[in-house]
């Protein structure tokens, strides 16, 4: 395989790892810093992707209108798509958070599973929303006119890395602020934090919203990379579980860990593809399942033997050091 091919392959690898890193950062805010057990990431993935898709594509006209149904199509530029994705996800997070954030942690988890499932079902069944199971295709890519399509991915990678860095810096800033310290105090000891007068619920909602907005951006980035989305992309496996594995492997409570985890796990995921390519033909169809089985086992091993992940949590800032 020639160099050009390898490089192109690595670039697409990095793009997806980078996209997942965005998700992992978002999850880190919710779980790593605030202790919210959100198993509904796929829901925000889905909404972020679809929102951006709907914002950036035009309403179908002419013959297309027979085949493609969408609730709206504004044909706006990429950045507005991303923004829209973040805003809508934040809104949905707010609506979801109101009834569910007061629940005990494992009940919250089950609620988030339900939410993600419901979201997926709605997108799958309600044709008028976003074309149902067939999904949307032909999603535009930012600046695609400027580069030869064969090299476009390099540009997209740069865009992704840029956005990733911006998000990372924004989160780091937020976490070190007094707001961030309250979040960590909540995770460490909710009861004492409540007794010191902080409105726990309000902080949890803010954390949920902030994290979900970032996940929405991730969803949008994904949509514009793959240029086509449909509800069966946003499964519990690819849309939620793998992100949890990434965060736990990298180190929850640690933004660098989150990014590292995304790249490591995505690397393992694609790496195992080469291994399974060596399998006999009959097993080839089952290859993704074997690979996911390994990912699952990886998670269990991490949970039992190194729950803090590769990088571990950042040094805790003692409550006595603030204010």
């Amino acid at each position: 395989m020639e160099i050009g091919g390898i490089v192109a392959y690595l670039v697409s690898l990095a793009i997806l790892a980078g996209i997942y890193a965005v998700f992992t950062l978002g999850l880190n805010i919710q779980w790593g810093y605030t202790g919210l057990f959100n198993i509904g990431i796929a829901g925000f993935f889905c909404i972020g992707a679809y929102t951006s898709a709907l914002i950036t594509t035009p309403m179908p006209t002419g013959i297309y209108a027979h085949y493609v149904h969408q609730i709206f199509g504004w044909n706006l530029p990429f950045l507005l798509g991303i923004l829209g994705a973040a805003v809508v996800c934040g809104l949905i997070a707010f609506l979801i958070g109101i009834p569910t954030l007061r629940l005990r942690e494992d009940y919250l988890a089950i609620a988030t599973i339900g939410i993600a499932e419901t979201i997926r079902l709605i997108f799958n069944n309600e044709r008028w929303l976003a074309n149902g199971p067939r999904g949307l295709m032909g999603l535009p890519q930012p600046l695609q006119e400027m580069i030869d399509p064969r090299h476009y991915n390099y540009l997209y990678l740069i865009i992704i890395l840029l956005i990733l860095v911006i998000i990372y810096l924004a989160i780091e800033r937020a976490i070190r602020s007094p707001w961030g310290r309250v979040l960590r105090a909540i995770r460490e000891d909710e009861i004492s934090t409540a007794m010191s007068g902080k409105d726990i619920f309000s902080f949890k909602i803010q954390s949920l919203i902030f994290g979900s907005m970032i996940m929405g951006i991730g969803g949008a980035l994904y949509a514009h990379y793959t240029k086509a989305i449909s509800p069966d992309v946003f499964t519990p496996l690819y849309g939620t579980f793998i992100i949890w594995v990434m965060l736990m492997v990298g180190g929850s409570g640690n933004n660098k860990g989150a990014i590292l985890g995304a790249f490591v796990v995505w690397g393992i995921w694609t790496g195992t593809k080469f291994m399974t390519d060596l399998l006999p033909y009959t097993l080839k169809a089952r290859a993704p399942y074997i690979r996911f089985l390994l990912i699952g086992i990886l998670l269990e091993i991490i949970l039992v033997y190194r729950p803090q992940g590769l990088l571990g949590e950042e040094k805790k800032v003692s409550k006595m050091m603030e204010e």
Partner: protein, 303 residues
Amino acid sequence: MAELFIYGVVLGSIIALGSIGLTLVFGILRFANFAHGDLMTAGAYVALFLVTGLFSWLGISDNPFIPLSFGLRMLFAIPISMITIALIAILLDRILYQPLRKKKSGTVILAMAALGASFIIQMAVLILWGADSLFYKPGVLRPALELPLEIKIRPDQIFIILIVSLSIAILHLFLKHTRMGKAMRATADNPELARVTGIDTGRIIKWTWGIGGGMAAMGGILYGIDVQLHPGMGWGFLLPLFAATILGGIGNMYGALIGALVMGVVQQISTAYLLPTYKPAVAFIIMILILLVRPQGIFGGRS
């Protein structure tokens, strides 16, 4: 509508097998076993292996017991699968949950581990059987009986209701009258006190997983007999299972039964107004309502 109700009872019976096991585990071990639905899947597929694979190879006859859709093979497969899944559940606890409990890992880590186990089981099923829907006896016509009130019900479904009722009755007698059963109830009340009284909580935990796993397996098999098998079937049960358990009160076995029947009926009746694929969403909405309005459930378990 009456037909939907009856079918809801059938579905509810299947859910009950899962939710009772789930509530036992929840009550005694205090964590949400997200892998419980997939224990049902595993049970169904082990039975599939037995019925279409091993027993066929062994030459056991497969003539169905008219008017049921299954025969001798299934009759053997059900208990064997139940025992297998019971052992798998005990093993799972031993190698995964127990080490985490010893490290005092917290309910979320345990739930996460359960989530991982759930996916591992699903992947194993996908690897061995692929992603298509399968049947115990493909191509079999399943004629329905006519009952008064013009209700149609299949003989299989009558069997399901009967065997679930029998199983629950046996479980009830076990919990009420045997030494181990009482010890299980005591441990569910207060694990610390149980230990202090000298009850061997390690054994109790094994029994809990054994019973939970076995019942889940039966639930999966019955669903497979009634509808079909597919790798995601257990995951699809997760929401109704948890909704039923929460509705009935965590740790309350009879509550879990009632909760399951309610969930089954409500989900079925919802198909008169919504697409059937929305059933899990219906389960979810009910669960949220209960959690908001009365988190300890109808019968008040732990909240």
